[in-house]
């Protein structure tokens, strides 16, 4: 039962975990690992990105619990909360994907007990932190201030969550950090977390396992800009400066890291400047998807490979620099990794939305979908994860295509399955009268045919397996390559 | 597209395609085993009655091919015949006898149906004549009337010396047989019987054709109570007869070949006829719920005939009527005569009230019909209102009843022939004598019978 403990730090962490969840939902294989345990570390409890990532993770988890482990398929990899991996004896760890900061709804000044400090200490604090830093409430995160974050996050190690994590850490488990280098929480949190886990003098249990565990990280460097607002606490113009400062720190202070992935893009369209809270809900971005891919890439290496040759550094380059990235703009490796699975997921979600409820077909009858779709909670959960306007697959795919560096591998506007993969329409052989490529009829026929070959008694499991097989076949038979 | 499922289906579809046209038609129909059995039993039951039907006559059928070997024509030229063949006078009038017999002799002489024709005059015994001589005698009259020879003696001679297979003797005479005395009259029949039986011919048959002719000369009555001869007779026509004597088969064929259209009356003794072609007609004046009971009735093969009536429902309110068509063309005209048929056709059956309600001949309409009725010359309509619970034989029989004319043409006393009219002395007795030889009186065979089966519908 090898696990991957995935620390998503800050808003970027949430968004990358969202993309990874989508990849796993699409059936992307995560090798050397049975279970992913995402831990989102973000003091901003109302962060919109985080909330919808959590909702997505919960939905995924529900579905996985129903499906269980399989050889392949949609939702193949288990995603579990920290408390879910083991029975917590004293109940101090909540069953959630979010690290519990215990409601630090105070200002940084209060957090430091500034007023109770000695004059010398006050002087030091004044030297390190601006007045703004001291007055800002911690509930919305560290707002691009690593100096604040590093203080607060250093205390994480003493939390029950981390202790629980260490108690349940086993040989073979891996750790991966996702953070942005230019923000507040991530930039400060990642090196701190790493240092504490790898500390030779740590008081945590399983210290040796922790020290030896293959550890990776993806650091997202600036890829967006924020609209400049005179009074805003976050100024994207400082991103580069902050990045440079952080990188120079990373250069010497990332002990125990086996692989580090760097991702960056030239900022183009500025995001609306929302320093935090529920308003910070950014559209899913290609960079996050690529960051999620780096996790998959990291898992592909064996522990031995990771340990030899010191830290491995990875960067990413598109095959073609295009403002609207399609599958053929990706390098072969990434394309092979996700093109087919994402296409399958797209076919599934489109078919689910357009036809599933109204189909009159043997597979539909045999799965008793008329009843199940209306009444069984798990089928509603599937509906959520696919079509929720908050966190659903449809929304995610749509958002990916709405950035200036858009990831638009699919034409989401069309109803023609043959034309859904951008730049790669399904070839219809007109010589064969019956070959209409991929259409409703094709899927129906394939669903009916395949349904007979699946001997799964549970109709939900069967439905998922059925659609995975059918979309797999559609891809192999009709799309072949992208 | 995947082809494999379709190719798997192909054989099945082909089988269906083959099945469709392969079903029942008239030609290849095979009935269920059960049906066959049932029908056979019925056939067997029905078959008992017609077992002795004339069809089972191998000699008749084999000899029926080809012409007769010989015909011997005997013309009596005794004095009593002179009135039929008077010497040609200035008035050049001749009798109907002359016209008829001359024509007949000519017909015989010309006929291809007989290989050898010989002609005889009968005086005290037969004298060989050529056709020309005999023809001349008929036309120009008897030049030297011979003394009369008795009928039994002539018959004896013909049967004893001229009887041979595939040959007939034709005797033309007035057949006035005068017994030696009045006391001998009751033995006329016996005399004739003995004469014909002298040679012990088992298959002897006699066809009698009765004609009348004007008569110009002396009439010699058999009963000589009034006068030995009546000169310058007669004011009435006098009958004369053509007898065809020989083996039954030869007589039948000679009748058919040369006497088919014979005018006058006729009677046949000992002649056996094959059953006439016949069939029930299910769409000709039929009424009520019945159909052909034959197991292969549905084939409706061309020329097929049917003799089984299967009745599904019958009662006094819903009578069943069916028509039997018969082709009587091969029979002598006597047996084609509607009057004779109406009088003599009988229907025999068991457990039924079936009866003949009508006998009628072919009309232009029936002959022009496209139905099977076109093949038949005569029709017998039978009505049933009651029947047994199982198959029963039903037979249409034409009994061998002596025609009425024989009695009518018979007189017990011809001494006053002008008053008596065209009659012959003791004709009935002569015929009785013939009948005694040619028919088994205990078990008189019918002329023909058509066996039918009347059965409830299954």
């Amino acid at each position: 039962m090898a696990k991957l403990f995935l620390f998503g730090i800050g808003g970027t962490g949430s968004r990358v975990i969202r993309s990874l969840t989508m990849l796993l939902a699409a059936g992307v294989e995560l090798p050397n690992c049975d279970r992913v345990v995402p831990i989102i570390i973000d003091p901003d409890a109302h962060n919109g990105d985080m909330n919808r990532t959590v909702a997505l993770l919960q939905s995924y988890q529900q579905i996985y619990k129903k499906l269980g482990p399989r050889e392949e398929g949609f939702f193949k990899t288990d995603i579990s909360t920290l408390s879910g991996i083991s029975q917590d004896v004293n109940g101090s760890v909540k069953d959630t994907f979010i690290f519990d900061f215990g409601g630090i709804n105070q200002s940084f000044r209060q957090y430091l007990s500034y007023d109770g400090l000695s004059v010398d200490s006050k002087g030091l604090v004044d030297l390190l932190f601006t007045q703004d830093n001291l007055e800002s409430p911690l509930t919305i995160g560290f707002r691009g201030s690593p100096n604040v974050g590093s203080i607060v996050l250093n205390k994480l190690v003493e939390s029950p969550e981390i202790r629980f994590f260490a108690d349940n850490f086993q040989e073979g488990d891996r750790v991966f950090f996702v953070s942005s280098i230019f923000g507040g929480t991530g930039a400060a949190g990642f090196p701190l977390m790493l240092k504490n886990l790898k500390d030779t003098n740590t008081r945590l249990s399983n210290a040796r396992y922790l020290r030896d565990a293959p550890t990776g990280a993806v650091t997202v460097m600036p890829y967006f800009a924020l609209q400049s607002e005179d009074n805003s606490v976050i100024d994207s113009n400082s991103f580069l400066t902050k990045t440079k400062a952080a990188l120079s720190y990373y250069e010497h202070n990332l002990q125990g890291l086996n692989a580090l992935y760097y991702l960056a893009d030239t900022p183009d369209t500025p995001y609306e400047n929302q320093p935090g809270g529920t308003q910070q809900r950014n559209k899913a971005h290609l960079i996050e998807l690529l960051a999620a891919l780096s996790i998959v890439d990291f898992m592909k290496y064996s522990a031995a490979e990771l340990r030899t040759g010191g830290p491995h550094f990875h960067e990413y380059g598109l095959a073609t620099d295009a403002p609207e990235v399609q599958f053929n703009h990706l390098p072969d490796e990434s394309r092979e990794l996700m093109a087919k699975h994402l296409t399958q997921l797209l076919y599934f979600t489109r078919y689910h939305r357009q036809f599933l409820a109204t189909d009159k077909a043997p597979y539909h009858d045999n799965l008793k979908l008329d009843y199940a779709l209306r009444n069984e909670p798990i089928f509603r959960e599937l509906q959520n994860i696919l079509h929720s306007p908050e966190f659903g697959v449809d929304e995610w795919l749509k958002e990916l295509g709405q950035n200036r560096r858009a990831f638009r591998p699919f034409d989401l506007a069309t109803d023609d399955f043959n034309a859904m993969i951008a730049g790669k329409p399904v070839e219809k052989k007109w010589t064969d009268f019956f070959n209409k490529g991929i259409n409703h009829n094709y899927f129906l026929d394939s669903l009916n045919k395949t349904e007979k070959t699946i001997a799964e008694p549970d109709n939900f499991k069967k439905l998922i397996e059925l659609f995975y097989d059918v979309t797999d076949k559609a891809f192999e038979e009709k799309v072949k390559v992208v | 597209m995947q082809r494999s499922p379709f190719s798997q289906l192909l054989p099945g579809l082909l089988a269906v395609a083959l099945l469709l046209p392969g079903c029942y038609s008239r030609d290849d129909l095979k009935s269920d085993a059960g049906n066959t059995k049932a029908a056979e039993t019925i056939e067997a039951a029905a078959g008992k009655a017609p077992a002795a039907s004339p069809e089972a006559e191998p000699s008749a059928t084999t000899a029926a091919t080809g012409p007769l070997k010989q015909v011997n024509v005997f013309l009596e030229v005794s004095g009593s015949m002179e009135g039929f063949m008077p010497k040609t006078g200035a008035d050049a009038q001749n009798t109907r006898f002359q016209q008829h017999v001359a024509q007949f002799l000519s017909d015989v002489n010309r006929s291809a149906s007989v290989q050898r024709k010989t002609f005889y005059r009968i005086k005290d015994k037969p004298y060989r004549d050529s056709y020309q001589q005999l023809e001349t005698t008929v036309r120009e009259g008897i030049r030297e009337p011979a003394s009369s020879t008795s009928i039994p003696a002539i018959l004896d001679t013909l049967v004893s010396h001229y009887y041979q297979p595939n040959a007939v003797s034709v005797l033309i005479s007035d057949f006035i047989y005068a017994p030696r005395n009045a006391g001998a009259v009751p033995y006329i029949k016996t005399d004739i019987t003995d004469a014909l039986n002298a040679a012990g011919r088992s298959d002897l048959a006699v066809s009698v054709y009765g004609h009348t002719s004007d008569f110009k000369g002396a009439f010699y009555p058999a009963m000589k109570t009034a006068a030995k001869r009546i000169n310058r007779c007669c004011d009435t026509d006098i009958p004369y007869y053509v007898w065809v004597i020989g083996p039954a088969d030869a007589v039948r064929r000679f009748d058919a070949a040369l006497l088919k259209k014979a005018p006058g009356e006729q009677a046949h003794f000992g002649v056996k006829y094959s059953a006439p072609p016949s069939s029930l007609l299910n769409k000709f004046q039929n009424q009520g719920a019945w159909y052909y009971g034959e197991k292969d009735a549905s084939k409706r093969a061309a020329g097929a005939t049917y003799h089984t009536v299967a009745v599904s429902e019958v009662s006094a309110q819903q009578p069943v009527e069916f028509v039997l068509g018969m082709n009587l063309q091969a029979l002598p005209t006597l047996y084609q005569d509607l009057g004779h048929l109406k009088a003599n056709l009988q229907l025999t059956g068991q457990d039924t009230d079936a009866k003949i309600v009508n006998v009628f001949g072919a009309t232009d309409q029936t002959r022009a019909s496209s139905g099977p009725e076109a093949q038949y010359t005569h029709f017998v309509k039978i009505r049933v209102t009651k029947m047994g619970k199982a198959a029963r034989p039903l037979q249409v029989i034409l009994q061998d009843k002596r025609p009425m004319w024989i009695t009518q043409w018979t007189t017990k006393n011809d001494s006053n022939i002008n008053q008596v009219g065209a009659k012959t002395f003791a004709l009935s007795s002569l015929i009785d004598g013939v009948a005694a030889v040619t028919t088994d009186e205990q078990n008189q065979a019918p002329i023909f019978q058509v066996p039918l089966t009347l059965q409830p519908a299954d």
């Binding site: 009159k360 077909a361 043997p362 539909h364 009858d365 045999n366 019956f434 409703h440 009829n441 094709y442 899927f443 129906l444 026929d445 669903l447 009916n448 045919k449 007979k452 | 597209m1 995947q2 082809r3 499922p5 379709f6 289906l9 099945g12 579809l13 269906v16 395609a17 099945l19 469709l20 079903c23 029942y24 038609s25 008239r26 129909l29 009935s31 269920d32 059960g34 049906n35 299910n282 769409k283 039929n286 009520g288 719920a289 019945w290 159909y291 052909y292 034959e294 009735a297 549905s298 409706r300 299967a310 599904s312 519908a457």
Partner: protein
């Protein structure tokens, strides 16, 4: 077999006119019966195995499509009787049309029975009509 078809078709009474009874019993009944069975089977095979399996058509499996074939089958069954009556030269009689109607009803029945038996083997219509 003849007796079976005879039983089947004489439920509405004996053939009319009675003179054609042997033709009906020995030719027409078995013919229309076998044809009806064969055509029903063929249509069921076409619907379930040709269209909804071999040809891969998946949208022609609704109740209305099935009903279309059902009605088509009944129509053919009706026509078959009229045609057979003509072919076998039976006497024209209103009975022919009663028989045709009965055959159409049997066509519906046969089609339904074959459907129930054979539908499971179909890909896209294995749950049609229900």
């Amino acid at each position: 077999m003849q007796s079976f078809f005879r039983f089947l078709y004489e439920l509405i009474g004996t053939p009319q006119p009675p003179a054609d009874t042997p033709v009906y019993r020995q030719i027409v009944f078995p013919n229309i019966g076998l044809l009806n069975l064969g055509i029903s089977l063929a249509l069921v095979l076409i619907f379930y195995y040709v269209i909804n399996k071999a040809m891969g058509v998946a949208t022609f499996n609704k109740l209305r499509h099935w009903t279309l074939f059902l009605v088509l089958n009944a129509l053919i069954a009706f026509i078959v009787v009229v045609w057979q009556a003509k072919a076998q030269q039976v006497t024209d009689h209103s009975y022919i049309y009663w028989l045709a109607t009965l055959n159409a009803v049997y066509g519906l029945l046969f089609y339904f029975l074959f459907s129930v038996i054979l539908r499971k083997g179909s890909t896209n219509a294995s749950t049609t009509p229900f």
